[in-house]
């Protein structure tokens, strides 16, 4: 299923957090969204799972306007792994993953064979079958993250939206998760912090900064030292790792003692503004 984000703008408390972003993810492709904290990655993803309505522009699934279809219909196509708030209510893993079927339920909320199959398959794919009866609150952060992935997969989505999916995961599980996601026959839009993972798994990388799309294309073309330096304000060296880019990042240091902390950056900015 093709995902089109077309000239989308979003405001939060009167401030523009996404400005005129257009981004297309072809069917079955994996696009990674990278950018510094506060660049609008999560907000842009929210417009795709209908948590935040853009005030301008459209989001389309195979050409159909996502925001004008019923909520349940949109949710049947789009699966989401998001940063989740903790609630005081304790569900078991199976119950939590089962909630991924919410959009498929009829009036009486009964599970059909298909619902049960989808939940079992999601548990199996994420290696959680043995955890089904455990309480989510008793799991480690990494296991909980896998539960959230399983919940997204349980809806058998055709578009998968992932907001920092590798949070809390150790390196092996980070790779496991991205391998799994890449091998699924779904369209993926994922916000990632790790440039290495983005370059390794994504068909295309989109770079956001200050709510604007500054670059979009194959990782090798987009993640250049100059773009990374400009967007993340770090010194980047790109080297070849088995045919794809790998990144060495250093702080962009302006302090004479070489201690590049936040306070140093603040002093440097003060000096600069004085000089002006």
């Amino acid at each position: 299923m093709r995902l089109d984000i077309d000239a989308v703008s979003v405001t939060l408390s009167g401030r523009d957090v996404i400005e005129d972003v257009s981004l297309a993810v072809p069917s079955g492709q994996f696009t990674a969204l990278v950018g510094p904290n506060g660049s609008g990655k999560s907000t842009l993803l929210r417009t795709v799972y209908r948590a935040h309505r853009p005030y301008a522009g459209t989001v389309r699934l195979d050409g159909r306007d996502l925001w004008s279809m019923p909520a349940a219909q949109a949710a049947r196509s789009v699966g989401v792994l998001m940063q989740e708030q903790h609630t005081g209510f304790e569900f078991t893993v199976a119950e939590m993953v089962g909630l991924g079927r919410t959009a498929h339920l009829g009036f009486f909320d009964r599970f059909t064979h298909e619902d049960r199959d989808a939940v079992a398959e999601a548990l199996d794919r994420t290696g959680l079958t043995a955890y089904a009866q455990r309480r989510v609150g008793q799991l480690s952060g990494g296991e909980r993250q896998r539960v959230l992935l399983a919940r997204a997969l349980a809806g058998r989505p055709r578009v998968l939206v992932l907001d920092e999916p590798t949070n809390h995961l150790d390196v092996r599980h980070q790779l496991d998760l991205l391998e799994l996601v890449r091998d699924l026959d779904v369209t993926v839009l994922a916000a990632l912090h790790s440039l290495d993972l983005a370059a390794a798994y994504a068909d295309a990388v989109a770079v956001l900064r200050g709510g604007k799309l500054v670059a979009h294309g194959p990782a090798a073309e987009v993640l250049t030292p100059s773009t990374i330096g400009e967007v993340f304000e770090v010194e980047a060296t790109v080297h070849d790792v088995g045919g794809r880019p790998g990144f060495a990042l250093r702080p962009r240091c302006v302090c004479p003692d070489g201690r590049c902390h936040w306070s140093c950056r603040r002093r440097a900015e003060a000096l600069l503004s004085d000089a002006r």
Partner: protein, 354 residues
Amino acid sequence: MTALVHKLPLRAAAVPYPALLAVLGVGLTVSVVLATGLGAVAVPSGEVAGILAHRLTGGGDSAATADLIVWRIRFPRVLLSAVAGAGLAVAGAVVQGVVRNPVADPYLLGLSHGASVGAVLVLTTGASVLGALTLPLAAFAGASAAMGIVLALASRQGRLLPVRLILVGVAFGHLFAGITSYVLALTESSAAQQQIIFWLLGGLSGASWATLPIPAAVVGAATALLLVRARRLNALVLGEEAGAALGLNASRQRWYLLLLVTLLTGTVVAVSGGIGFVGLIVPHLARMLVGADHRRMLPITVVLGALFLLWADVAARTLVSPTELPIGVLTAFLGVPCFLLVMRARGLAGQETP
């Protein structure tokens, strides 16, 4: 105390769910028979069972005193206490889910205080335009008006957010309580004051066959509706954002559910007065036994709520017989130790949630 808490079956994982429900169901049935026998004039359980069996199979009137006590006076009261307990407990469970806060109950949203204002105004003005129905209707109207005000002020652009609901609910609860106290202070007749205090603390002494059908029907229908839609209630607990991702319109669900809670609380409070704590404590106990999934915890909540209020009412009418204690006193005396026990047990079981 600590040792006792450790031994509590905090997670009844060892007990299969159907068995647990069956045990509680049998417990409720036995309790109904036992409670009907208890009172100023004790009737042996065997005789109670005989009378109930005779009547429930279509048997006619008999002149026996025991028949009068059991069938006319105690049985409807015991049933009403069970219905009211179940209704308040379910209302509590739903409010906790709606505001995503496990320590919420209908009091928190100002519902019960609104009902009190309605009832107190009737009691002090002596209005009786609608006869015996005046008081329950005024209480129901008070609860509905309170919910209407809270919903109107807590929603913005049709969106209903949990934190705003709690804040507005608590604020207006205080306002309504203030109005009630003001009216109470202005009342000169001490008989009316007595009546008001008794109503505020709740009581089922007005129970009769006539007061039973409406609460029973409302509690039954609301519970059935909630049970078939229980998965949606689960999704609501996850919050606005997860709800949106799962295709659930969280705000709309909250509206529906709060209207249902208003109907439930209003109907029950109208016949029972302001009984506190059931809605807070019982859903907690149910969750401890079977977890947070509403498909499993709602039926347990219903039965536990019925059991809790049934025995609280027995205590209320027998402890200092022939005088009757307000049932709110009993639910507080029984409820607070229960609540502390639950809290300790949760902490000890390592499930303290931030």
